[in-house]
């Protein structure tokens, strides 16, 4: 009898947790081409960020203007009961992430412009966002994307 009495609130709590989930589902056409258009190198210093923010694709193309364009697609993987409950407690739902693009010239040196700034985005659980940047000129060859959790 006692066990039954305990089970009822536990089930209620579980239901409540599931009910509190507020995540984003996505649908897209199946990619016909490789997901990423370039081979990337990643330097991970924050393993939590790596696991919470999944990098889905890294693309680079040339805009009509001749300037290179970079686009990185990321998904907030902080879904599920416990992950969402924790991010809710820590005030990180939606997930605040900061990013900054840096473009390099032919010599591989950074080109400092007004286009290279730290920005913040709020990403809903399950949501995919696209970080995009246009190179400041058509002599740029490579880019680097800095990512960090925003406190």
């Amino acid at each position: 009898m006692n066990r039954k009495l305990l089970l009822a609130p536990a089930a209620g709590l579980l239901l409540c947790c599931f009910g509190c989930q507020d995540t984003v589902n996505t649908i897209e056409n199946e990619p016909q081409e490789p997901v990423s258009s370039i081979r990337d190198v990643r330097v991970v210093t924050d393993k939590f960020l790596r696991d919470r923010l999944i990098i889905r694709s890294v693309k680079m193309a040339t805009a009509a203007s001749g300037n290179p364009v970079a686009e990185v697609a990321v998904t907030n993987a902080r879904t599920g009961v416990f992950s969402q409950a924790w991010s809710g407690i820590t005030g990180e739902n939606p997930y605040p992430v900061a990013y900054k693009f840096v473009w390099m010239d032919e010599a591989g040196m950074a080109v400092e412009t007004n286009l290279s700034v730290w920005r913040t985005v709020q990403i809903k659980p399950g949501e995919t966002v696209f970080f995009k940047s246009v190179a400041p000129n058509n002599r740029c060859r490579d880019f680097l994307l800095n990512l960090k959790e925003q406190e």
Binding site: A63, L115, V117, R119
Partner: protein, 233 residues
């Protein structure tokens, strides 16, 4: 022993004094994530954000690129025509003629705040100029933008007896602009209980002044929310 007893309050005093000191240090002006933001008016980081967004849109615009390519073709034809007519075209003009000349026109301020739109226009001009797509003029500008009076003053030097005649600048050599950057900034606010919302809408246009047609247009709203603490004064 007495010496040690004296050391303790001295250390405490030193700690107290150091904590009372004010700290002023440089921060990265392009880091909008740590910037202090005014809760009820435009902040430095808002200009940084809108400059980046508008700059990216401008550099990637296919229609603006179409205009630039057509301009370059027309410029080539005009130079050939002028040379055929016997006009002397300088090397400098030949080098730069394929790029349109940009003028910063007026940014209308439809907010109740004092806004210096040069914080946006001059940064956008720098992005465009450094991308190699346009030239810019400092001879003419819209209301609220900077003009360099030196170009006009340089023509006055011709009358100065100390000036070598050959180096004095001639009248009729300043180039007329081809493109103008104009726009409007609109502010909207909303309030519900302790929550406040403030947004700025930036609407920018680049106009081909030979035809009066727009070659690029961009509208972006920057929105910030602020919730007042329950116990605040």
């Amino acid at each position: 022993m007495k010496f040690r007893l004296l050391l303790l309050p001295a250390a405490a005093l030193a700690a107290l004094l150091s904590s009372c000191g004010t700290d002023s240090h440089y921060v990265d002006a392009t880091d909008t994530t740590v910037a202090v933001k005014n809760k009820d008016r435009m902040s430095s980081s808002d200009w940084v954000v809108i400059t980046q967004d508008a700059g990216n849109a401008l550099l990637a615009s296919p229609l603006f690129q179409e205009y630039l390519e057509a301009y370059a073709m027309d410029a080539d034809a005009a130079i050939k025509e002028a040379e055929a007519a016997g006009e002397k075209i300088t090397t400098r003009e030949k080098l730069t003629a394929r790029k349109p000349l940009l003028m910063l026109s007026t940014i209308q301020n439809n907010t109740s705040e004092h806004i210096d739109s040069k914080l946006l226009t001059e940064r956008l001009r720098e992005i465009l100029f450094n991308s190699g797509k346009v030239r810019f003029t400092t001879y003419a500008a819209g209301a609220g933008q900077s003009i360099d009076a030196a170009t006009a003053q340089a023509r006055q030097l011709k009358k100065d007896p100390n000036i070598k005649k050959r180096t004095a600048l001639q009248k009729g050599t300043v180039h007329a602009y081809d493109l103008s950057l104009a726009g409007v900034i609109i502010k909207q606010t909303a309030k519900e209980g302790r929550s406040n919302e403030m947004s700025y809408t930036f609407s920018l246009t680049l106009t081909d002044n030979s035809t009066g047609e727009g070659v690029w247009t961009y509208t972006k709203e920057i929105k910030r929310q602020h919730t007042q603490a329950a116990l605040s004064w």
